[in-house]
Amino acid sequence: MIMYTVTIANRDGAQYCVDARRPLLETLREQGVDLPFGCKYGGCITCAAKLKTGAIDQRRQVALNNRQIANGYVILCVARPTSDITLEIGVESHEKLYRNPFLDPLKPHELKADIATPKEG
């Protein structure tokens, strides 16, 4: 079994060893980390956290637009680690997750993956 270490930056650097094949929401909650969640299939953003270092696979998520992904957001209910990682969790990490859509429009390449167009230049 491949295991990776997850460090939670905004919980005093607490560390957890997790199974690389399972979603982070499950493996961290099992070890007592209190995490928000909603739909549990990658569609609703409630469980979003910020990836500070390392890499994850979140191909199953459908909630994030490309700007949110570029800002480091990951959907814990479907994301699996592919290296040791450091996360910032909970709403403290959501500073750039929500934006007023009238004041701060998305560029065509920043939309969700299914409707985004490639960045020009």
Partner: protein
């Protein structure tokens, strides 16, 4: 009235108007998306002015887990089975939009302290009916139908879940979704064998928040659908275009003989009216168009965002909200083709016209509302949906939601905020929560349909 001689609700809208004044009100309150790791709950609010706990939350029924996002709710029975003495308006159904769970709450054993009767697991609904994202609950006789906005993967258009009166899953209610692209709200008028449904978006589109650009990519709805209610299939659709972006709440007249109905198009901030003409053909028109407002710090005009509408039990007034502008409005719709603005009050909103109401700073704007059967008291709450709140009103995290009462004059028209009533959900024991839809135990202006 619920009684020994007959079933729940009232013989007619006229009888409902004469019912005793409401003393309790149930509203859902959420922690999902707020940063507080507690379950959403059903709050009981004391609305009896003679009670020492008037204008306070007197009970909180927590859901079993976190992350449901309670939103709308509905009864197991209404006036549509008034002649069935075996039925009673006992259970309130509370769907979790994100979790897909349906919570069945017994409000009759102790109306002040409702208790959880049963939970239909969201995973079971996905497995048996391929549905997620529950929204509107209506009963038809002793059966219950609930609109779901997506399939098990959160993709549109979803469909309708059919429950029996014991809350067992019967399966899908509809025969066909036809060419419908999205689901949301619905209302039916059995004497005309018609149901009308509206369109928000797929759960995967609206749950993470509002990307305005997705409207242009046709990820949000702009159509109304007319159903053959008995055959359970859509037969005609109206494309509303730019006048009908995000057509959300659907209301028919309460009068079961009427064919007139209304829908609030949230982003266009218009009211759409439909009716059947003399040739039995369905027609529609835009009857209210709320102009965008200039915001001092915004480069583009600010739409009202009309997320809800409500019709008084006497079918005389239509109430609507402008969640971003911050006003509630009352229109006289005696002539439904020519509504007249008869009342307007501000509470919160982004225009800064009423930042404080009865001493409480209002985060958010008027959003959901429920009207007393006699048409005199309108209870208004301020949160729309956790992710959308977080985009437009981020301060709601610290301040929570508010419930305000507006005194309405059903004889001459007019609205005024009641100065003796306010419920500040920013001061809840577990921290600021957000209140949304409300219902009264004895029936209200969004619960009953007459056969």
């Amino acid at each position: 009235m619920d009684g020994q001689c007959c079933g729940p609700g009232f013989k007619s809208p006229q009888e409902a108007i004469k019912a005793p004044r409401e003393k309790l009100l149930y509203t859902i309150a959420i922690y999902t998306g707020t940063g507080i790791q507690k379950p959403d709950y059903l709050a009981t609010v004391d609305v009896d002015p003679d009670s020492p706990t008037y204008s306070q939350v007197i009970n909180r029924l927590e859901m079993p887990g976190i992350g449901d996002e309670l939103h709308h709710m509905g009864w197991n029975a209404c006036s549509s089975c008034h002649d069935d003495g075996s039925m009673s308006r006992k259970y309130l159904i509370l769907p979790g939009v994100r979790s897909n769970n349906l919570h069945i709450v017994d409000t009759a054993t102790d109306p002040r302290a409702p208790r959880l009767h049963k939970v239909i697991d969201g995973a079971e609904i996905k497995a048996k009916a391929d549905l997620s994202g529950p929204h509107t609950v209506h009963c038809l006789g002793s059966e219950i139908i609930i609109s779901f906005l997506g399939n098990a993967k959160g993709e549109a258009p979803g469909g309708y879940l059919h429950l029996d009166k014991e809350f067992n899953i019967v399966g899908r209610w509809e025969t066909s979704m036809g060419d419908i692209k999205f689901g949301y709200d619905f209302w039916y008028q059995p004497r005309h064998n018609v149901m009308v449904s509206s369109e928000w978006a797929a759960p995967n589109t609206f749950m993470p928040g509002f990307d305005l650009e997705e409207v242009g990519h046709l990820k949000y709805g702009r159509e109304l659908h007319f159903w053959d209610f008995e055959k359970r299939e859509p037969v005609e659709s109206f494309y509303l275009g730019e006048d009908g972006l995000l057509p959300l709440e659907v209301k028919f007249h309460h009068d079961p003989d009427s064919t007139h109905g209304f829908c609030g198009a949230a982003l266009s901030t218009n009211v759409i009216h439909w009716w059947q003409d003399d040739a039995k053909k369905w027609r529609w028109e835009k009857i209210i168009d709320v102009e965008n407002e200039v915001h001092p710090e915004w480069p583009i005009p600010l739409p009202g965002v009309m997320s809800a509408i409500l019709i008084s039990m006497d079918d005389k007034y239509l109430y609507l909200n402008n969640w971003l502008h911050g006003d509630m409005r009352q229109y006289d719709i005696t002539d439904p083709h020519n509504p007249k603005l008869t009342g307007q009050v501000f509470m919160g909103g982004l225009l800064g016209k009423a930042p404080i109401v009865n001493g409480v700073e209002v985060a958010g704007g008027p959003q959901m509302f429920q009207l007393s059967l006699d048409g005199r008291r309108l209870y208004v709450t301020t949160s729309l949906f956790s992710t959308w709140d977080n985009q437009f009103y981020p301060e709601i995290r610290e301040k929570g939601g508010v419930m305000v009462m507006i005194d309405c004059d059903p004889e001459n028209g007019g609205m005024k905020i009641n100065e003796d009533f306010i419920v500040d959900f920013g001061k809840e024991p577990n921290g600021p929560s957000r209140c949304h839809e409300s219902r009264y135990p004895g029936g209200d202006c969004t619960s009953d349909i007459w056969l």
